[in-house]
C-alpha cells in the first residue's frame, strides 16, 4: 500500500514521451513500451518525485471533477501500485 504522503517518480529506466503518431503518451523502457490512455498519462505526468499521492489526486480533481475524491484516490492508488509492481515507478519509503 502506497502512503498518501509518498512522492512517486518514474523508474530510472522509464521515459514518458509524447507519441505524435497516436497523439497520446507512451511510457518507454528497455525493449518495451506502454501506450497510455489519457488518464494514465495524466497520472504519470504528475509523478515527478515532488508531488505526493495526495497532491496528485488533488490536481486530478481539477481535471476530472466528475469523479468523487475517495474513488479517485482509490483509482490512482491502484494504478500506481500496478506501475510499481511492473518496476516502472519508484516510491521512496
Amino acid at each position: 500500500m502506497i502512503p498518501a504522503a509518498a512522492r512517486p517518480s518514474l523508474a530510472a529506466k522509464a521515459r514518458l514521451r509524447f507519441d505524435r503518431a497516436s497523439g497520446g503518451y507512451m511510457l518507454l523502457y528497455p525493449e518495451r513500451g506502454l501506450a497510455l490512455n489519457p488518464t494514465a498519462a495524466s497520472i504519470l505526468r504528475l509523478c515527478n518525485g515532488e508531488l505526493s499521492v495526495e497532491a496528485i489526486v488533488e490536481r486530478l480533481q481539477g481535471e476530472y471533477s466528475e469523479r468523487p475524491a475517495p474513488e479517485m484516490r482509490q483509482d490512482v492508488l491502484e494504478f500506481l501500485e500496478e506501475m510499481v509492481r511492473r518496476g516502472l515507478l519508484q516510491v521512496p519509503a
Binding site: K13, A21, L28, Y29, E31, G33
Partner: protein
Amino acid sequence: MSPAPRPYTLVAELTYACPLHCVYCSNPIDFARHRDLLDTATWRRVLRQAERLGVVQVNFTGGEPLLRPDLEALVEEARALDLYTNLITSGLPLERARLERLRRLGLDNVQVSIQDARPAESDRIAGREAFQRKLEVARWVKELGFPLTVNTCSTARTWTAPAR
C-alpha cells in the same frame, strides 16, 4: 477503427565486427563479404525515416556497435528524434570516458552480454577472456546512473548450472 499498423522498434545492426566469437552466434563471420557498412549520413537518414514511420525505440547492436566511431553521432541523432535509445554491447571495447560521453548525449539504457555466470564457462563460450571486463563495464553502467540489462543466451549448457 483500429490504428494503422506501425513499427515501434528499430534494431540497428551497425557492424558485423565483434571481439567475441560466441559459439551460437548467428552473426556472419565472413566479414569480407559484408565490408560495405552504411555510413553515418545513411544511418542518420534511416533513423529519421524510422521515426516518421512511428518508431519510438532504437536498439544499437551488431556485431559490436562500439566499434563504430560514429556511435556518438548516431546516439545524438536518435535522441534529437526523441527515440528511446538502447546500446547492446559485449562491453569489451568500452572505456569509461566513452560511456560518460554517451550518457551526456542521452543514451537511455545499456545491455551488457554475459555468456554464463561462471567466469571460465563465460570466456569459453565467448572464445576469449572477457568476463572480468564485462563485470567492470556493468559496474560503470550502474555508477553512471544507467539502467543495466544483462543479456544471456539460455542454452542446455548454461541451464545445467544456473547462477548462484
